[in-house]
């Protein structure tokens, strides 16, 4: 489908139940899951809406960050003492003491993990994003919005289906500055 052949419809539902029913109905009339997106003011799980699981890279990015943090800790705790022009060896004390190294490794691993988790949300959600977007502010008042992408020729059929399932409003979605 080319851009001109499709239209985005934004349907606003008063509650979760009619929104979940509408999704099921849309699927039954041939709208693929990939062509729908649900916008809500609270974290509604995929299971509640009967939607396929959402993919997220956040845990993987977090693990990657933990590995990087561990690497940074390893460098600071194990490598930097050797980088002195005159490495300092104190009597019988170990050159790289074990327990203090655990502290450094722990803190930097956790720092790496948490920083990358935070970064992961930004990367996966494309934050910050200040471009115009398809949205209805009623969502933050507890309404559930379904954004449906459908061919122009099916616009009426989908609109009717959404209204039949209890949508308070169904309008062509227009990108606007939030």
């Amino acid at each position: 489908m080319t851009e001109s052949n499709v239209v985005d419809l934004l349907a606003v539902f008063p509650d979760l139940e009619p929104a979940a029913n509408a999704i099921e109905h849309l699927r039954s009339i041939g709208v693929h899951d990939d062509c729908m997106n649900v916008i809500s003011g609270i974290p509604v799980t995929e299971a509640m809406l009967g939607r396929p699981s959402q993919w997220t890279n956040v845990p993987r990015i977090a693990m990657g960050g933990a590995a990087l943090g561990f690497g940074a800790g390893f460098f600071l705790a194990y490598i930097t003492p050797y980088l002195y022009p005159y490495p300092i060896q104190l009597s019988t004390q170990s050159f790289i003491p074990g327990p203090p190294t655990v502290v450094v490794l722990f803190e930097l691993t956790m720092l790496g993990m948490l920083l990358s988790t935070f970064l992961g949300v930004f990367l996966d959600s494309f934050f910050p994003n200040y471009r115009p977007m398809k949205y209805v502010p009623e969502v933050s008042d507890g309404k559930i919005a379904i954004l449906v992408e459908c061919p122009h020729v099916e616009e009426k059929k989908v609109t009717d289906a959404l209204k039949k399932m209890g949508a308070e409003s169904v309008n062509p979605a227009e990108a606007q500055h939030l």
Partner: protein
Amino acid sequence: MAYEKKHAEHAHAAHAHGEEHFREKHLMLDPLPRGQMNDMVMESMMEKPTWKFWVVIAILSAIVAYGLVYSWAKMIAEGLGIAGVNRPAYWGIFLVNTVFWIGISHAGTFISAILRVFKAEFRRPFTRAAELMTTFGLVQAGFSIFMHMGRVWLSYWLMPYPNQRMLWPNLHSPLTWDLLAITTYLLSSTMYLFLPLIPDLAMARDRSTGWRKNFYKILALGFRGTEGEWTHLRNAMNIFAFAIIPVMFSVHTIVSWDFAAATRPGWSSTIFGPYFVVGALHSGMGAVIVVLAVIRATMKHMKYFIRAEHFDAIGKLMLIISMAWAYFFFNDYMVQWYGGDKWTKQLLHFHEAGPMGWMWFAMLIFNIVIPWAILWNPKWRSTPWLVSIVGILINVGMWFERYIIIPVSLTINRMPFTWRLYKPGVEIPLGLGTLAFFILLYMIASKLIPLIPVWEVQEGQMAHELKKFGRETVVTVSELE
């Protein structure tokens, strides 16, 4: 027949009355439309400040200007000599305040992360108020360390990078652990404050105009609430909730090692790590309850969100933590006393019968006697003004505890000819400056940031319902995640 009908009507009325009672008591069973809750939170934030608000802001600003700016500048100009730290107490109020503020910061993580992990539902309306304390408390802890450093402009020497002499900071030193632990905790807790705030910032963006609209628009990052955004956010919050708990424990444990790793009388103790962590929670919870009481009393609509049940729940936690603190205190005291080391015995005697003995006894009264005497009673611990007084006293008691552990304990060492009681100088205005700055930051934040996580409250209200088991009506919670 008439009797049965009357009985049924009576039962119905009693049931309705019971439900009403539950609704009054529990926020989670007293839902309002989301839009109305949004309006309430926005009104509380955007309400025109009264003259009293501005007077308090002016007083706090004056204290910050004198305590934090002028006094610090004076200390930088004249040197650490104007502070009271000197042989044998090289560590004074600066480090007392560092430990104190890190302790305050523990409340946010405890309430937000630990209670989230254990699905304690009462946490929902005040997680953000507690998380803000964490971030602002850590800022004061950072200031206190920099004050202690003296030549603060050289603080970058602590940063791990090679300088012209090819010297790296010794990352195996306890003081560098502090740098790593506090930096990790400050960054983590700030991110953990921000992530659940994004949906509320989006809500504020949708309902504001003018400069506020732009402010919230920038901070909301373009959040709409799509399935993907919520999934990423939920995953990240789960990771944070689990991972920040060991970080929280590590911070105060590492702070305790600054003392325990030294073979000094009174300090060399294997129990200092958990003892400090429990102490931090003790003062942190005390501070949370004070903040909640102030928010409830001064901000519009907060009586709906923060109720007696929340004070009751936090009061119970405070009582348990007070008992745990008493246990660790006694454990630490007992082993040192039984050890019979000459200098340790001198120190313990000095704590109780020395010139600062009043502080030692006040510490025990504020941290143990008063909380136990008041918090056991459900009615008393549900009374905001009373329980917040207990919170203030616990904080005074915990500050005394840190004062006794640091400068008072440093007075007695193995060289009696150096014994000298610490007398603070410029530390007092500097310390007051951090306290005023903390309150000032909080007051400003209360006008800019939605203090109630509305989406979390709504999520909780969706999960709660009343259910009848036989004749009894009980509260049930569904797991929505």
